[in-house]
Assembly symmetry: C2
Homo-oligomer: 250 residues x 2
DNA sequence: ACCTGAACACCGTTCAAGT
DNA sequence: ACCTGAACACCGTTCAAGT
């Protein structure tokens, strides 16, 4: 009882005067934010494998076990990190004008997602396969889903294409990020495979691979991503035109 | 010199009499195969995180350090495991008849890939982002690339769509496998997000998500995969029809 | 009430010591 | 020539002991 009163008093104090000391809950949230920030720095500096609870503790100059009072376990920390990446995407796409064509909205979102992937590959490889259920994710889901409903697709089809769009973009971003954040040596092994292995294949057994070796080495992950996004959006367009429900395309 | 002669003699012996003792190289290969087999069993029984060098040693009833004479490190073991999954895919698609439409070939390959993913989710989540450069991968690359050239696409476009097809299918399979092989508790947390979180969203702020909640919970990973494969193949078809090079579509 | 750090049960990998 | 197991430098996580 006494404690509860104290907490409430603190909350009121900070409510009345925004410059006053933050409440316990606010202070906890600030420390969580600081930990998430440090996780970004640490992971991008040392690679995905370098993000350990112990090293994150060092980064923050606190005992590693303190992190376990901010996050239940490492997984919860990663979900908080994932939420932050989604908030970055939301900030980047900013407003969605009423009159913006739905395809353009989705293209812009795909672009922002890719941007975050290129900026934080290590973090992306750790988090892009996860569902956070947090407020940022909820907002982004609502945004993307709204765009798909504007296509005129029936609910079940709209949802199917929404999920295809999301899983494809996230899958490709995670894949690109995984390559972009491998240990340098392993990455070398993986990235130069085309020239190292495939350029030396016997022409008799592998005529097509040999013939296209130059093209194979020069395709960029971004070109692949754009092609996939185009394909997925066009499939939705086509389905909307065929299954034409409310707004055929007038 | 003496050693070399002995090895050659052993190879000849095994060449002459297939039932005789295998050569040192053959025995090494057999032990590598046994290790890969055990890795499949262990990973699918205990989950991706359960596949450690120590436990793999236990599984094989040998000291863990022996694995380091069969594989340079754990990464090389995983690449050998990845090669095996590709060989499974190759076995599953069997022959590609001369007259089979290229789209159907690629659909069959996508189907086999999915099959392997469902059978070995833990292994898939560990390996499907990797490039092995091994013989099985080389054969599969040649197979897929050949199918894309049969579409009539110009080399650079054929390669772009080939890569889009491969990265999209692998990305979605890896994503599905990651969900399918999470620790049961984490998986629960991730898998039931739709019903746990999104069903309780306030309708005012998230009207679309709330409206589509039933559809959202009932989309299957396989339906998403099929939709994505269709989209990617149709994009290639369309590009082939437009950029019509050698064989427009006669 | 909060923090600390020792401790537990694991990793991947190496290498001197055995046979 | 081959195998063994101790050892190193790490993990995530827990909990008794301190302040």
């Amino acid at each position: 009882m006494a404690k509860k009163t104290a907490t409430t008093a603190a909350a009121q104090r900070s409510g009345d005067d925004t410059a006053a000391q933050p409440s316990r809950r606010e202070r906890r949230e600030l420390r969580r934010e600081a930990a998430v920030n440090a996780a970004f720095q640490l992971a991008e500096r040392e690679g995905a494998a370098g993000l350990s609870m112990r090293r994150l503790g060092q980064e923050l100059d606190v005992d590693a076990t303190i992190l376990y009072r901010l996050f239940r376990d490492k997984d919860e920390l990663l979900l908080a990190v994932a939420e932050r990446t989604i908030r970055m995407i939301l900030d980047d796409i900013a407003e969605v004008p009423e009159e913006e064509p739905w395809q353009q909205t989705l293209r812009r979102i795909a672009e922002s997602t890719w941007l975050v992937q290129t900026r934080y590959p290590a973090i992306t490889s750790l988090t892009f396969a996860r569902t956070t259920g947090g407020p940022a994710e909820q907002r982004l889901v609502e945004l993307i889903l709204t765009a798909f409903t504007r296509s005129g697709l029936a609910p079940d089809r709209a949802v199917l294409h929404y999920r295809t769009y999301v899983d494809t973009t996230l899958g490709l971003c995670a894949h690109a990020a995984a390559l972009g954040s491998l240990d340098p040596e392993v990455r070398e092994k993986d990235g130069t495979t085309w020239t190292r292995i495939y350029a030396r294949l016997p022409e008799t057994a592998y005529p097509v691979t040999r013939t296209y070796i130059d093209e194979l080495s020069s395709v960029t992950p971004k070109a692949i991503y754009d092609t996939a996004v185009d394909a997925v959006l066009f499939a939705a367009e086509r389905a909307a035109a065929q299954g034409g429900t409310c707004r055929p395309q007038a």
